[in-house]
C-alpha cells in the first residue's frame, strides 16, 4: 500500500510537468502564429478595436442589422443561454414581445417570415451570427434608415454570408458585426 502511495505521488508530479506545463505552453507558443496570436481575432475600425470576430455584440439602432436575443446582454465576461424550457409561459411571453418589436421596427415584415433565430436566445449569449433569413428581413429597414438602395444592402449581405462548409456541410450564416462594419464603410 505504502509503495502505491509513493509511486502515485511521484507519477502525479511527473505528469503535472508533462501535461500542465510542457503541453499547454507548447500549444500557446504555436498559437502565436495564428490569427489573433492565440488571444482571439480582433476586428478594428479606424485603427481602434471594436470587437472580436467570433463574439457577437449588441446592436439596437435601426441603421444596424440586429443580432439574436442574448441571455447575458452580449457581456463576454460571462456566457450563458436562457435555459428557458419550451413550455415556460414567461418565456413564451418574451418571445411574443420580441416578435412585436421586430414587427414594429420592420413595418413591411410578415410574421410568417420571421425566422426562429431572431426571436430566441442563443446557447452562449454571444452568438455572432444570424441566419440568412434573419438578415433578409432587416434589409428594408436598414436601407431606409441609411437612405441607400436595398440592392446595395442586399449585396453586402451576400458578401458577408458564410456558405455551408465546403458548400456541403451545415447551415449558412451571416456575421452581424462584419456586416455592420461593411455598412459603416460604405
Amino acid at each position: 500500500m505504502k509503495k502505491y502511495i509513493i509511486q502515485s505521488i511521484r507519477l502525479t508530479l511527473v505528469l503535472i510537468v508533462l501535461l500542465c506545463i510542457i503541453y499547454p505552453i507548447s500549444i500557446a507558443l504555436a498559437g502565436k502564429l495564428s490569427k489573433g496570436n492565440g488571444g482571439g481575432e480582433k476586428i478594428a475600425k479606424n485603427g481602434k478595436t471594436v470587437g472580436y470576430s467570433l463574439l457577437g455584440q449588441s446592436f439596437t439602432k435601426p441603421e444596424y442589422f440586429w443580432g439574436r436575443p442574448s441571455a447575458v446582454g452580449y457581456n463576454a465576461a460571462g456566457s450563458a443561454g436562457s435555459n428557458k424550457g419550451p413550455s415556460n409561459p414567461d418565456y413564451l411571453k418574451e418571445v411574443q414581445s420580441r416578435i412585436d418589436t421586430l414587427l414594429k421596427y420592420n413595418p413591411a415584415l410578415k410574421k410568417s417570415d420571421i425566422p426562429a433565430d431572431m426571436v430566441t436566445a442563443s446557447g452562449s449569449g454571444l452568438d455572432p451570427n444570424i441566419s440568412e433569413q434573419g438578415a433578409a428581413i432587416q434589409i428594408a429597414r436598414v436601407a431606409k434608415t441609411r437612405n441607400i438602395s436595398e440592392e446595395k444592402v442586399k449585396e453586402l449581405v451576400a458578401v458577408n454570408t458564410l456558405k455551408p462548409l465546403m458548400g456541403l456541410f451545415g447551415p449558412s450564416s451571416v456575421n452581424v458585426l462584419k456586416l455592420n462594419l461593411a455598412l459603416d464603410n460604405l
Partner: protein, 572 residues
C-alpha cells in the same frame, strides 16, 4: 437533402473511419506489440524511472484496483486544496475568488470521476492555475484511469486462465503517451488555428461599435477543450461550454469536437475484440451499441427539427428547427446530433442548452444517460456494458437451464451478485436523489442556503421536475451536462451530486474489474455444442432486451412525471 443533415451523416462516417483503425492500434499498444509510436518508449521509460515504477511487476485484480484507487484519492486531496486556495495562488489574472468547501468538494469529485458536472462558471469561478493544473490535468488522468481499468478487463479474457493481469501503471501511462496526449496536441492545434484562444492573456476590454464597454474572458482554452472531448470529460473552459464561440468557433471545429468525443469509446470496443482475439464479439457489441445510438438519435432529430409547437402557434417560421439555446453556425441538426452523442457517451459537453430542448428530446437525453452503455465514456463505457452482458448471460442461462458461461469461464453466484448490485446502484442513486431533492424543494423551500430551494428551478411545472431529475441522472452517469437552469451552486446540490458522482464512478469500475478478475482466474472450459455463444445475433438481441427491460422498469415512472408529462401538456 439539406446541408445540415449531410453534415451530421458525414460526421458519423468520419468518426468510424478514424475510430476503427484507432481501435486496432490500441489493441497492439496495450498488448505490447510493435506499433509506429514506439519511438515514445524512452519518454515512457523516463516516466517510470522518475516515478519508481517497475512495469515488469504483474498485478492481480485486487492490486490493480488498489493502485487505481490510491492515485485517485491522492488527486482528490490535491485538487480540493488547490481549488479552495486558488485566490492565494499564482496565475489568477482575473482575480477570481477561492471556492467554498462544498463547491470544491463537488468540483474535485466531478473532475476526478471524469464527470465534469460544473457548479461554477469557468470565466468567474476558477483561475488559470486551476484550469490547467487541476481541471485539465484531471481530464487527462481520469480518462486514462478509465482506459486502464478497461484494459485490465481485456487482460482477464486474453489467456485461458490467469491471475496476472499486467501492470496498472503501464496501461495508465500508455493511455496518456500513446493516445490522449498526441491526439490532444493535434486537436488543440486545429482549434487554435480556427480561432480558439490558447494564450495566457487575461481579460480584455473594448468599446463596441455602438459604444458599449465590453469585457472579454479569454485564456488558454484550446488545450483544455481538446482533452475535454477526447477524454469524454466535457467540462468547458467557459460557462457556455462548446456553445461559446471561443470554444467552438465554426462548423468545422464543431465536426472535430463531435468526432473527438466518440472515437476513443468506439476504439475501445474494437480494441477489446482484437486484444482477446474475438473480433466477432467486438463487432456484435458495436452493432448493439450503434443500433441503440440511432434509436435515441433519430427521434431526437425529429423532435428538434420539428421546432417548438408553442412558437409555431405564434406564426413565425422555424424552417430549420427549434433555435432557443442553439447557435446559428451549428443549426438544430448538428446540435441535436451532439446532444445524443454527449449523453450516450459520458462527455456531457454541450453545443446548445439542453434545458431549452423539446420535451421529448429531454426524454431521450435522460434515457441515454440512464442506460450509459451505448459506447459510453472512455473505457468505462465498456465496463458498464460488460455488466449488461453478464446479466444477459445469466438470464439466458436460466432460460435454457444451463450453467451460464462467459468466454469459457463459468459465471457463478459471486459474479452475479456483484453484477446485480452494480445494476441496482444506478436506479437507487437516481431515484433516491431525485426524491430527496423534490422533497426538499416542496417542504423546505426557505432553507438558508446560497440558493434557496424555492428558487432552484428556472422553469415551472413538469419541466422543473425534469431539471432535478436531469441533474441527478447526469451525476450518476458521470456525464456532467445539465439542465443548467437549475440553481445548483449551494450546499445541498454540491454535496448530493458529489456523493452520487463518487459512487457512480468507482463502484461501476470496481464491480466489472472484480468480475473479470474472478472469471479470468477460473478454469477454462473449451467451447462445445452446448456453449451459449455471446457473439451471435440472438445473444445481441438478448442483451438489447435486457438493457431495455432493466431501464424501462427502473425509470419509466420518473420519466413520466418529467419530460413525458410536459410533452403531453404541450399537445393539449
Amino acid at each position: 437533402m439539406n446541408t445540415e443533415l449531410i453534415g451530421i451523416i458525414a460526421t458519423f462516417l468520419l468518426t468510424l473511419v478514424i475510430a476503427i483503425p484507432l481501435g486496432k492500434y490500441l489493441a497492439k499498444v496495450f498488448a505490447g506489440e510493435k506499433v509506429w509510436t514506439d519511438f515514445l518508449k524512452p519518454l515512457e521509460n523516463g516516466i517510470y524511472k522518475l516515478s519508481g515504477i517497475n512495469i515488469k511487476e504483474q498485478m492481480n485484480w485486487k492490486q490493480q484496483l488498489k493502485a487505481l484507487l490510491t492515485i485517485n484519492i491522492l488527486w482528490l486531496v490535491y485538487g480540493f486544496f488547490v481549488l479552495i486556495f486558488q485566490d492565494k495562488l499564482p496565475f489568477n489574472p482575473d482575480g477570481n475568488p477561492g471556492m467554498t468547501p462544498d463547491l470544491a468538494f463537488n468540483t474535485i469529485i466531478s473532475f476526478v470521476a471524469n464527470c465534469n458536472l460544473q457548479h461554477y462558471s469557468g470565466e468567474s469561478g476558477v483561475s488559470y492555475l486551476t484550469q490547467q493544473f487541476v481541471l485539465m490535468f484531471l481530464q487527462f488522468v481520469s480518462a486514462a484511469t478509465g482506459i486502464a481499468a478497461a484494459v485490465v478487463l481485456f487482460k482477464a479474457f486474453r489467456d485461458k486462465t490467469t491471475t496476472q493481469l499486467g501492470n496498472f501503471w503501464e496501461f495508465f501511462v500508455r493511455a496518456i503517451t500513446r493516445l490522449l496526449l498526441p491526439l490532444s496536441i493535434v486537436m488543440a492545434l486545429i482549434l487554435t488555428f480556427n480561432g480558439t484562444p490558447a494564450s495566457y492573456d487575461g481579460k480584455d476590454q473594448f468599446v463596441s461599435v455602438q459604444g458599449d464597454t465590453v469585457n472579454v474572458s479569454r485564456g488558454p482554452a484550446a488545450q483544455l477543450i481538446a482533452i475535454k472531448h477526447l477524454g469524454t470529460n466535457g467540462g468547458g473552459y467557459f460557462g457556455a461550454n462548446s456553445a461559446h464561440p471561443f470554444e467552438n468557433p465554426s462548423y468545422l471545429t464543431n465536426m472535430v469536437e463531435m468526432i473527438a468525443q466518440v472515437i476513443i469509446p468506439i476504439a475501445m470496443i474494437i480494441a477489446f475484440g482484437y486484444f482477446i482475439r474475438r473480433k466477432k464479439l467486438a463487432w456484435t457489441i458495436f452493432g448493439v451499441m450503434t443500433i441503440g445510438l440511432f434509436m435515441l438519435m433519430i427521434p431526437t432529430l425529429s423532435s428538434e427539427l420539428g421546432g417548438n409547437p408553442a412558437l409555431a402557434k405564434m406564426g413565425i417560421s422555424q424552417a430549420t428547427g427549434a433555435m432557443e439555446g442553439k447557435e446559428v453556425r451549428f443549426g438544430p441538426a448538428a446540435t441535436a446530433y451532439w446532444s445524443t452523442l454527449t449523453t450516450v457517451i459520458s462527455t456531457g459537453s454541450v453545443n446548445g442548452m439542453h434545458d431549452s430542448t423539446m420535451p421529448l428530446t429531454g426524454l431521450w437525453q435522460l434515457l441515454a444517460m440512464m442506460i450509459n452503455g451505448f459506447y459510453g465514456g472512455c473505457g468505462v463505457g465498456l465496463l458498464n456494458y460488460f455488466i449488461y452482458l453478464i446479466i444477459a448471460v445469466f438470464i439466458s442461462g436460466l432460460m435454457v437451464g444451463r450453467t451460464p458461461e462467459f468466454l469459457g469461464h463459468k459465471v457463478e453466484a459471486r459474479e452475479i451478485k456483484i453484477a446485480a448490485i452494480i445494476t441496482l446502484l444506478s436506479p437507487f442513486l437516481i431515484l433516491a436523489g431525485t426524491a430527496i431533492s423534490s422533497y426538499v424543494f416542496t417542504n423546505h423551500g426557505d432553507a438558508a442556503w446560497a440558493v434557496q430551494p424555492k428558487a432552484w428551478l428556472n422553469n415551472p411545472g413538469f419541466h422543473g421536475f425534469s431539471e432535478m431529475l436531469y441533474e441527478v441522472t447526469s451525476s450518476n452517469a458521470n456525464n456532467g451536462s445539465g439542465f443548467e437552469g437549475l440553481g445548483d451552486n449551494n450546499v445541498f446540490w454540491n454535496v448530493l451530486t458529489g456523493v452520487i458522482i463518487f459512487l457512480g464512478r468507482f463502484l461501476p469500475i470496481i464491480g466489472p474489474v472484480a468480475i473479470a478478475g474472478l472469471l479470468g482466474a477460473k478454469k477454462f472450459i473449451p467451447e462445445s455444442a452446448g456453449t451459449l455463444k455471446t457473439d451471435t445475433k440472438t445473444f445481441a438481441l438478448m442483451t438489447f432486451a435486457v438493457i431495455l427491460v432493466l431501464n424501462a422498469l427502473s425509470y419509466f415512472p420518473a420519466l413520466a412525471l418529467g419530460p413525458l408529462a410536459e410533452y403531453f401538456t404541450q399537445l393539449r
